[in-house]
Amino acid sequence: METSRPVVVKRMPEVMNNGGARKFLAEVEPLFSVDRPQVVFDFSQVRQLDVAGVEVLLQCMKRIIKRDGDLKFAALSPQAAVVLELTRTDRLFEIYQTSTDAAKSFSSFLPNTLRRQEHASVAA
């Protein structure tokens, strides 16, 4: 199923501590005002993520879900992956290798697309 709604990919700052998280929330807040927002957070730059950062991620998720949208994560840095696992937050989000994969996943269920591509290559 194709979608015409835009997917916003937001790169996270390097440090998601108290100050960084608050600033990040102020930056992304306008994204949640639209109807059914589709947002991807790119974690490739993240080196430090603490409780305040995780709380902001949960707040973002809460607001997006209220608007019937979806939030996905992409390109987790090893540091971010460890903290998300430690705080049991990783299981609340779909996580993709790259932000392109995450953006594509909004329009179709990714495993189906991959399967279709495989069939197409075999047929060719």
Binding site: N17, Q48, D50, V51, A52, V54, E55, L58, P78, Q79, A81, V82, V83, E85, L86, T87, R88
Partner: protein, 388 residues
Amino acid sequence: MRRLKAILVAEKRATVRGITLTLPLPLIDVLGSSLLQRAIDNLRNSGVEDITVVADFAQSDAFLMNGVPLRNAEVVTANEDLFSSAQEIFREAARGDAEAVFLSRVSSYFEVDMDRLLSHHLHFHNRVTRLWSGSDPLPMEAFMVSTSRMEDGVQLLRNHLHDSSTEGVRYRLDEAAGEYVNLLRDANELRRLASDGLHLRCGLNPVGKEVRPGIWVDESSHVASDARLVAPVFIGKRTRIRAGAVITRGSAVEHHCSVDCGTVVENATLLPYSQIGPCLDLSHSVAGERRIVHLKRNVTTEIHDGRMLNSISASPARRLLTFAGSLFSFMPEHFCRGLFGKLGQVGEARTASNGFGTTRAFNPSSKDKAELPEMSPGLAVVRRYGNQ
């Protein structure tokens, strides 16, 4: 048993790759006892009674760092160069009545059959015999040296126990003969050592009382009644496991640690003096001193937020002050609760300030409270669920 002497060299800067700790490797506790103490005990158990530890830290430092003084060995603190002091001790031993001297740097854990080693050394007329790890042969920093060849031992110590020009037929530790070796090259191997000890794959016995099969808990530790321990696990001295925590799958929580409410520790080691926050999930890791080494991801992450992972001071006075501070900050809040009875408001304020606070984990939701009818103040117990 022929007369043997052992000299163990314990360096302050020795560490496990991937873990930066203030504690030197010989003083890191594994299942309740330091690696240095375990090396001494293993030598004593195999019949070596004359053991000297040459260290670049004082006995009092060792006491301060892991809370227990070393037993059954003479400890010599090197004032200048560690290996120069070791050379002097070796010369003295060679002049004495010892037939051979066992020289080792405390950088790995091994269990060796000393009779077998000495027989091998004498059988091949080796001047110096180097120990090699068994299955995947790698050189160890442990040697047997004949005292008749004093210069060989001195030369070996001059080379900081790295290599010897007069090395004879190598001695490989044989697991089939009950020997064991762990080279402790990285955090993975440190974790494997604890796991092997808990699964009884080596002679490394957990220090503590086996309260249930496979569950070792030190008597001075405190485990909440509704915390769950799944065998095999080890809980060290003066450790606190709070309500709802789960320690499972071969985890080791070393001395003076704290595991907060609802946290799950699975197949992980919590190093001494570490505090892990509430409602977290620590798995396949070695954690301590504000660092987590994730063994599956092979990554070391520094944790800057003390609410997730924090260090507890090794000094008892400082620990007492910290406890008093937290008590004084906790009391006014509860005093206000008692005085004004606004449980919900104070609870919510605390939850907002600390997203992973115990309040959030264990407070009933506000919705549940709203559904409850007004109760008589004299009513002590009421069923909230089921057919009331």
